[in-house]
């Protein structure tokens, strides 16, 4: 990818996107929903790849940052009655500002401290919604994405439309991130990750670069959260649990942590785990307990096995680190 120009990258991504959108007409609603889920997870995982894989900071709280984006999108849409694509931008921006503040604190923290701090965020923040009336409590708030544009015809399903929206968003994110990472910013982050002291000696403002990475990563996570709100039709504390944050970290690890393209693979795996485990559970006649928890067991085992056996992540042929 190193020598591909931004335009060529965009062309490739658009081509893949067009293929996916065309293919989405041939599948049922559930698959379209899952496709949208993959796109959203891929965006959220790419936020972690950017943060952890490039700037070397860890976050266990990206689920909470998604919540910030999701709530901001919902609130801006319902209170100001703005078009929902605009609410996504507001969701991203609010998460970005939040991430900027968090990043200032984070840049001063070393690994385990940052992990613990973001964990505290993941546990604490979503439950904040229960405390403030305006956030809708346990039930949350509904997100009205409106109808499918009429020019697409009456048989264009809602979920297929969501799929189209999320794929477009994912293409935009991947294109922007990919280009960003091949600029000097990307090189700075990599330098910091491999050796912060050397990077500082080479004249890189380590603190500023880390805050920038945190801000951008949060913005991207906020976008994922906004899209998630659209897909679910609501925001609620239960949609942004600690488990979500774990899931995203797992996705990033499966992606190979510093492999942007791997985010898509990670997202596909994450979305297919519940599907596969449901199939397995019903095949073996499992109870509700099994159906509800088997995906978690599988995800965790995958996570542990990946860090244990392929700590650098699976090798991906494309979009790999340079």
């Amino acid at each position: 990818m190193k020598h591909k120009s931004p335009i060529r990258r965009l062309a490739i991504l658009l081509f893949i996107g067009a293929l996916l959108i065309a293919a989405s007409g041939r599948v049922d609603q559930l698959r379209a929903y899952q496709g949208a889920q993959v796109a959203i997870f891929a965006i959220a995982i790419s936020a972690i790849v950017l943060l952890t894989g490039y700037s070397g900071q860890i976050s266990l709280g990206h689920g909470a940052l998604m919540a910030v984006g999701g709530y901001a999108a919902v609130l801006s849409r319902t209170h100001w009655n703005i078009p929902y694509p605009l609410s996504f931008i507001i969701g991203s921006a609010v998460a970005g500002v939040f991430g900027f503040l968090l990043g200032i604190a984070a840049a001063r923290l070393k690994g385990p401290y940052l992990a613990g701090t973001t964990l505290a965020l993941a546990v604490g923040l979503p439950s904040l919604a229960n405390q403030f009336h305006v956030l809708g409590g346990e039930q949350g708030l509904t997100f009205d994405a409106g109808n499918v544009p009429s020019w697409l015809g009456s048989d264009f399903s809602q979920y297929r439309w969501f799929f189209v929206v999320t794929v477009i968003a994912a293409i935009a994110v991947f294109w922007l991130l990919r280009n960003l990472l091949s600029t000097r910013y990307g090189r700075r982050w990599r330098a910091i990750r491999s050796n912060p002291t050397a990077a500082a000696l080479a004249g890189i403002n380590v603190g500023r670069a880390k805050v920038l990475a945190f801000t951008l990563s949060s913005t991207v996570a906020g976008l994922a959260g906004s899209l998630f709100a659209m897909l679910l039709g609501l925001v609620a504390p239960l949609a942004f649990t600690l488990t979500l944050s774990f899931t995203l970290v797992t996705g990033a690890v499966l992606a190979g942590v510093s492999n942007l393209g791997g985010s898509i693979v990670g997202a596909v795996v994450l979305v297919s785990i519940p599907e596969l485990s449901n199939a397995a559970a019903s095949h073996f006649g499992g109870s509700d307990k099994v159906t509800a928890n088997l995906p978690g067991v599988i995800t965790s085992v995958l996570l542990i096995a990946t860090v244990l056996f392929i700590p650098n992540g699976p090798k991906m042929p494309k979009l790999s680190r340079q």
């Binding site: 952890t52 070397g56 860890i58 266990l60 604190a105 001063r108 923290l109 070393k110 690994g111 385990p112 401290y113 992990a115 613990g116 701090t117 964990l119 505290a120 965020l121 546990v123 604490g124 923040l125 439950s127 904040l128 405390q131 403030f132 990750r193 491999s194 600690l242 488990t243 774990f246 970290v249 797992t250 690890v253 942590v257 510093s258 509700d288 307990k289 099994v290 509800a292 928890n293 088997l294 995906p295 978690g296 067991v297 995800t299 965790s300 085992v301 996570l303 542990i304 860090v307 244990l308 056996f309 700590p311 650098n312």
Partner: protein, 298 residues
């Protein structure tokens, strides 16, 4: 005045629990330089095992040692089966720093799901024969129950035992030496790998005590100890992460802090309070109350 005293009592009881969880984290940090996010998962599993023991023996007090032994065993297994091989495998790779965080997270997630798989996600009552109703002094009922008293006493007993082991036994000396200077300890003949596993087992036991004591005041579910993990971490950071005394003091400080926030500011901020206190401590005094500045470098 009565309200003030009540608040202190409430704070002491929750502080005792935080101290135990904080101790669990500090013990592991000292022995392997890992913040064990799986501590909450280990404590959940040991508490479920305690619950099973109570169901079959019909005695809460007999179930406590079962839970504690289970907690120690689970923690030792996590260290020996996951963390030790991980440390050897990830050494020198780019993910060396984040691999332990991710692995403990994986263990936490795995245990929570496993517990859900076995016991379901619904709330379970793991009850103690002690009342959770506050003592009555004169006409007023104070928010401090016999179970709260048991929590404080239990925590104090555990801490005293740890203090005695660390201070007066050869095992304690080996644990301290191995955590400070593993290489010199090995050259002195300390089997550091084994000592580390024992350190984790102690941590697991502390977490198990926390889980088994606090659960009768609420309920048991696969993620009912998540918040305790965060509180324990905050307490450990307040205490400096290195120091056992710091862990205990950090827990009590946090418990009292929460109790006063709850009493005088309101419930709406409790969940974010842990986070805000954590950030403030890390920004203002990153070495904690008892830590030395160099301790943060790892």
């Amino acid at each position: 005045m009565q309200i003030f005293i009540n608040t202190i009592l409430v704070g002491l009881s929750s502080g005792a629990i935080y101290s135990l969880m904080s101790l669990a984290l500090v013990l592991v940090w000292r022995s392997t330089r890992v913040v064990n996010f799986a501590a909450a998962g280990q404590a959940i599993l040991s508490t479920y095992i305690g619950y099973e023991a109570m169901s079959s023996m019909h005695n809460y007090w007999l179930s406590l040692p079962v839970a504690i032994l289970a907690g120690a065993g689970i923690s030792a297994l996590v260290e020996a089966l996951v963390m030790r091989p991980l440390a050897k495998r990830s050494k020198g790779t780019p993910v060396e720093a984040i691999a332990p965080v991710i692995a403990t997270l994986g263990v936490l997630g795995g245990i929570r799901s496993l517990a859900g798989l076995i016991w379901g996600n619904n709330f379970i009552q793991y009850t103690s024969p002690l009342s959770s109703k506050g003592y009555t002094i004169g006409q007023t009922t104070i928010p401090f129950s016999p179970q709260n008293a048991a929590i404080v006493i239990g925590a104090v007993v555990v801490m005293a035992m740890f203090a005695a082991i660390f201070k007066f036994t050869r095992l304690g000396l080996a644990l301290r030496a191995a955590s400070f200077q593993p290489e010199i300890s090995r050259l002195a003949g300390v089997r550091v790998d084994r000592i580390r596993t024992i350190g984790w087992a102690f941590a697991g036991a502390a977490g198990a005590v926390a889980g088994a004591l606090v659960t009768p005041t609420s309920y048991l579910s696969p993620n009912s100890l998540d918040l305790l993990l965060v509180s324990g971490f905050v307490a450990a950071v307040i205490g400096g992460l290195e120091s056992l005394i710091g862990a205990v003091v950090g827990g009590v400080v946090l418990g009292l802090g929460f109790a006063f926030i709850l009493q005088y500011i309101g419930t709406s901020v409790t969940f974010s309070a842990a986070f805000i206190i954590l950030v403030i401590v890390l920004l203002i005094r990153p070495q904690g109350i008892f830590g030395r500045r160099s301790g943060r470098e790892a």
